[in-house]
């Protein structure tokens, strides 16, 4: 099962503002919870999310434990040319995932 879900329109007209939705499967353990025996469950979260279009950064987010499990983001961008969106999530315990999506612009 893919850990990332991306929703980007396949086609758009030049100059359109499009919505991008992303979902990454991740537990987002806050580091504030305790087990029954009283030990703190160590923090394990995604700390950073970046979206690039043809190599240029268009959106970035810093995440904190207050972001829900399976972090979801929706944001907008203006498309002026065909190209590829690259998505990157990084986090605790060496977590790193990438995904990409292409769009053709007429």
């Amino acid at each position: 099962m893919p850990s990332a879900l991306i929703n980007v329109p396949r086609k758009a007209k030049r100059g359109d503002i499009i919505e991008i939705k992303t979902l990454m499967s991740h537990i987002m353990e806050t580091g504030y919870r305790h087990t029954v025996s009283g030990e703190v469950v160590p923090r394990d979260i995604v700390t950073s999310f970046v979206c690039r279009f043809n190599g240029t950064e268009i959106f970035r987010a810093d995440l904190f434990p207050a972001i829900s499990a399976n972090p979801f983001f929706s944001f907008f961008t203006t498309v002026t040319e065909s190209g590829k969106f690259d998505f990157e999530w990084t986090g605790d315990k060496g977590f790193s995932e990438t995904a990409s999506a292409s769009i053709s612009v007429e």
């Binding site: 806050t30 919870r33 087990t35 469950v41 995440l63 207050a66 203006t78």
Partner: protein, 152 residues
């Protein structure tokens, strides 16, 4: 009222208050919220307006609360939203998320899902390209808290 029972009552009430305080998990205080905001805005003044923060006013499950922040802005290279910062009052940490936009976003709007540990105030602050800060805040009532519950 009998003096001794009043004393007992007060002692009990005091004890209960102490218990309630000690049982409470660590939480961000309004002072922590203020200092987290200071870390972002520095000494600049934060004005109210331009920002729209959409969160349901009554939330059943604090583990996943849909949130949308939008800012009135033409998103042109000379006048755009640089970043949006979201804070809370009573989670263990005052920060929720920082979002960095670029002028080509076209629309200054971000949605995500957040955790709220208690009924509290959520604050969104937007930094504009001219260096001004604008904010909006919403009071949210949460019936099932997130973040600090025990793992079963």
């Amino acid at each position: 009222m009998d003096c001794s029972t009043r004393r007992e009552f007060l002692a009990l009430a005091g004890g209960a208050a102490v218990l309630a305080v000690t049982l409470r998990p660590a939480e961000a205080t309004p002072a922590m919220l203020a200092s987290a905001i200071r870390n972002v805005v520095g000494t600049a003044a934060v004005k109210t307006g331009k920002v729209k923060l959409e969160i349901p006013p009554l939330v059943e499950n604090g583990n996943t609360v849909p949130m949308t922040v939008s800012v009135e802005s033409p998103m042109a290279p000379e006048d755009h939203v640089k970043s949006i910062h979201v804070f809370n009052e009573k989670n263990p940490q005052p920060n929720i998320g920082n979002f960095y936009l670029s002028p080509q976003a076209g629309r200054a709007q971000v949605s995500t899902r957040i955790r709220l540990a208690d009924s509290q105030k959520v604050v969104a602050i937007a930094k504009l390209s001219d260096g001004t800060f604008w904010s909006a805040s919403v009071d949210v009532v949460v019936t099932l808290a997130a973040c600090t519950e025990e793992v079963i």
